[in-house]
Symmetry: C2
């Protein structure tokens, strides 16, 4: 950084630049914006970062993020605890909750297997998932990992582990997205949509 840059400002811009998808120019713009905020707003921002860090941990049942012992889904007695939907990321839980049609519980893996990046089964919360299946109350596990090579591999790996336990393992249907345009669907998606066709 050149001498005409002010150290604390350059440092703040650097912090923003470390965030994903934020380039040098945007980082600079954000740093200036923070500088222009009233001090109490900046304080709020500063505290929100540490507060999120210090108060959020894994739910002791499903490994989703929570600031309590259990997340709000696991703690809800109205949810069907015999069905577990396995997802890669806490954001996937939010996406599925948005459908308002899923009444089971979740299990968050916090990633997907990716040997190239050194992520194996032991880096995910698969051990915790197996522990949840010990008490015979679970009847179905729905694999809802991402439709990527890593997600598929993870699903396959887990389903192989669960088969011997006699638990029904299902996975989300592949197909053309609703509201999408057939013309723009890639051939793999179309193939899966054909394979999964249903009688009307």
């Amino acid at each position: 950084m050149s001498s005409y840059n002010v150290a604390p400002l350059a440092k703040l811009a650097e912090q923003f630049e470390r965030l994903p998808g934020i380039g040098t120019k945007t980082a600079q713009r954000l740093a200036y914006h923070v500088l222009k905020m009233p001090r109490e707003k900046a304080l709020e921002f500063s505290q929100a970062i540490l507060s999120a860090h210090d108060n959020i941990h894994y739910c002791n049942e499903c490994c989703n993020l929570t600031d309590k012992d259990q997340c709000s889904v696991c703690a809800n007695p109205k949810r069907d605890h015999s069905v577990i939907c396995v997802v890669e990321d806490p954001r996937d839980v939010i996406a599925i909750e948005r459908t308002q049609e899923y009444h089971g519980v979740y299990h968050v893996l916090h990633g997907a297997m990716s040997p190239l990046n050194g992520i194996g089964p032991e880096q995910l919360t698969i051990k915790e998932l197996l522990a949840r299946l010990q008490n015979d109350t679970v009847t179905e596990v729905i694999m809802a990992t991402n439709p990527t090579i890593e997600g598929e591999t993870t699903s396959m790996y887990i389903s192989k582990l669960l088969k011997p336990l006699g638990i029904k393992v299902t996975r989300l249907a592949y197909g053309i997205p609703v509201g999408g345009d057939l013309e723009y669907a890639d051939e793999v998606t179309l193939l899966r949509a054909l394979e999964g066709r249903r009688e009307m």
Copy 2:
């Protein structure tokens, strides 16, 4: 925010969402990223925000941002203090410094006149600029506000104030950007480029 969102996380995402150009999805992604950082990195980020806020103020000469009494340009005895380049924003100083060919000093207005947004001359550092011109050492003021209506208006306003003082007022040349494509230049820029044509 729905109940499945964790409060401290939602709060952090909200903070990011307040930044310019950051939408809901990006804000969520950034909040998760911060959560995954090691705690000392999050602490660094959190402190950088407040540190920038608490240590940065206007240079007592040119109103640029600095963490000292004077910014590094004004404090540099090798700079030509008889030429002042007037810009809207501290980032404009950085842009001009990047040319490495300007050896005068700056004056940062911190905005441009915009009656529609309630920004008049008294909201800018025009008073401070006039004060700098009292001691007769300044020979030229270069207007380098943005080529927008607001920037133009501001330049016109300031040049009218300076004319009676007998100070030479110039402004940056308009024209086609170097490396640009004539085909894509707008007609106003082309007209200005024609008007400002020089003998080769």
